[in-house]
């Protein structure tokens, strides 16, 4: 209650001052405190350490791979956008493998790295033509040109339009398979990763042999018939499917 002197008192105990009165008295007592301006004011910054950013990179890989992008446009929590990506999965496995084998990061990191490696490697197998765990249109005969190739987003409606297969994805996917095979030694079925790698090598060899094709082969002259073995694997191949 407010008395005639303008101060507030608790009606049950006049010796105690309520919070509003304490705030008021504190404000009055601090009136003479002056904050002097700094001659060269600096924007406040955090003390940044290198571990911070590596942890952020690690977290992004663990959280979002095999998706390549996470949208942060609005400033809120990141949300994955688009389709999953073979190259993102493969490069993520490679980065996680390096952390595991370097053996200089906390056990929690290394344990999580192995777990994510297995998840990503198993997903990669679902995106590989002719893999041990392939299903649907990814089941292809070993003599087909796409056998062993990884398709970049795992789309399954192959009869709609031609798809493009990149040798970089075949090779990076194959490397990821090998890294998973040598790292995930406790996975009883890890032999599937070695099989996946062998199949990728077969596909890569075929992409290295553009000169040996029956049609549309590499030549030494423009539209000629003089076959030319370049030695490097071709950048990409377009595959056309039809409904069986």
């Amino acid at each position: 209650m407010k008395k005639a002197d303008g101060l507030y008192y608790c009606p049950d105990d006049k010796h105690l001052r309520p919070a509003i009165e304490l705030d008021r008295l504190n404000a009055v007592s601090m009136a003479n405190i002056r904050v002097l301006p700094r001659k060269d004011p600096q924007e406040s910054v955090n003390v940044n350490i290198y571990q911070d950013v590596e942890a952020e990179l690690f977290k992004a890989v663990v959280q979002f791979a095999p998706y390549r992008y996470a949208d942060i446009t609005g400033g809120g929590n990141p949300a994955t956008v688009g389709t999953r990506s073979v190259l993102t999965a493969a490069e993520s496995i490679r980065a996680l493998y390096n952390i595991v084998t370097e053996n200089k990061r906390p056990l929690t990191w290394r344990t999580q790295a192995k777990s994510i490696m297995e998840t990503l490697a198993d997903w990669l197998l679902t995106a590989q033509f002719g893999s041990p765990t392939a299903t649907g249109d990814y089941v292809q005969a070993s003599t087909t040109m796409v056998y062993g190739a990884f398709f970049h987003d795992g789309t399954t409606a192959f009869d709609v339009a031609p798809i493009t297969i990149y040798s970089e994805e075949v090779a990076a996917g194959g490397l990821a398979m090998i890294l998973a095979y040598v790292t995930l030694t406790t996975v009883l079925s890890r032999g599937k990763y070695l099989t996946g790698a062998r199949n990728a090598a077969t596909c890569l060899r075929r992409m290295q042999c553009g000169d040996k094709r029956t049609a549309r082969y590499t030549t030494k002259s423009d539209q000629g018939t003089d076959r030319y073995h370049v030695g490097m694997w071709t950048y990409s191949m377009t595959a056309t499917f039809g409904v069986a």
Partner: protein, 288 residues
């Protein structure tokens, strides 16, 4: 169920695809010498394709070390080179017209002037003995076209991508390798994935630059400098994957048909490789 009808090769050859060399090396280490391909003509092939792992690697490596000539020439070029730099080689094919030459990233035939920083960095990761190429790349100078004009307000700098190019931090997304502006950056963006991809070379040939790159990456950057609530947003360069030359992160890219600001997980994974090489490596203690 869809059946494969046919395939068509593009008959183009990029240094960025040399990750295949790393793959085959790891495969040989895991299972020993083996042969891949077929001993007879199968599928779309008129001839056998089989080769040993070692043969596959030596053929691919020779393409970048010995090189191949342009159409009408007998002088071999290597493409991933300081003297004959190109983006890729396009071979002749039996079915359609082609250049039959080394080509730049921009322009038809040999009329262009640029290569892609990421493509070259991928090649150097697989071919770390190409130290001369790395020396060539870090000798590039800043292109005044992409530098910030004097007296530009901080708010305008943050909204742009301009700045002074320092190739020891990261490669630009586009590099000019021919013409009057040769050996300068051809864009106003750093590609931070290249720092991770070339770390194995840089740790021995330019460690201070690698340390400086890590220091720059370690600072959260304000996305905007303006008097609005969005000014509180900060980004890590490594998560964005690219930045302006003054480390700006306000840019957008077209992703899935829309203009967005995104975390690039692929580039983040590539940049992580930088933390495996000195300087600024460390041994974090186990927390469990």
């Amino acid at each position: 169920m869809a059946d494969l009808i046919s395939t068509t090769f593009d008959h183009k050859f990029y240094p960025g695809d040399m990750v295949g060399l790393t793959f085959l090396t790891a495969l040989q280490a895991a299972e020993g010498a083996a042969t891949y391909g077929n001993t007879t003509a199968v599928g779309e092939f008129a001839q056998a394709t089989d080769a040993t792992n070692a043969t596959m690697r030596s053929e691919a490596t020779a393409f970048w070390t010995t090189g191949v000539p342009d159409a009408g020439s007998t002088t071999a070029k290597t493409g991933l080179s300081s003297t004959t730099p190109f983006e890729f080689f396009e071979a002749f094919r039996s079915s359609a017209a082609a250049a039959g030459t080394w080509r730049y990233a921009d322009g038809a035939g040999q009329t262009g002037t640029t290569v892609t920083g990421l493509n070259w960095a991928k090649g150097l990761r697989a071919l770390p003995t190409f130290t001369g190429v790395w020396d060539y790349l870090v000798a590039f100078t800043s292109n005044s076209t992409y530098e910030t004009a004097d007296d530009t307000a901080p708010q305008a700098v943050a909204a742009a991508l301009t700045g002074t190019y320092d190739p020891t931090l990261a490669l630009a997304t586009t590099l000019i390798v021919s013409g009057t502006n040769a050996s300068k950056n051809g864009s106003s963006r750093y590609d931070w994935a290249t720092t991770g991809l070339m770390a194995e070379i840089q740790t021995t040939r330019g460690a201070s630059g690698l340390g400086n790159a890590k220091a720059e990456v370690a600072r959260p950057r304000r996305r905007y400098v303006d008097p609005t609530p969005r000014a509180s947003r900060t980004d890590w360069l490594g998560l964005r994957g690219q930045s302006g030359l003054d480390f700006q992160v306000s840019f957008t890219d077209t992703v899935e048909g829309a203009s967005r600001q995104v975390i690039d997980v692929l580039r983040a994974a590539m940049l992580m490789n930088a933390y495996r090489y000195t300087p600024q490596t460390w041994n974090l203690p186990d927390l469990t």
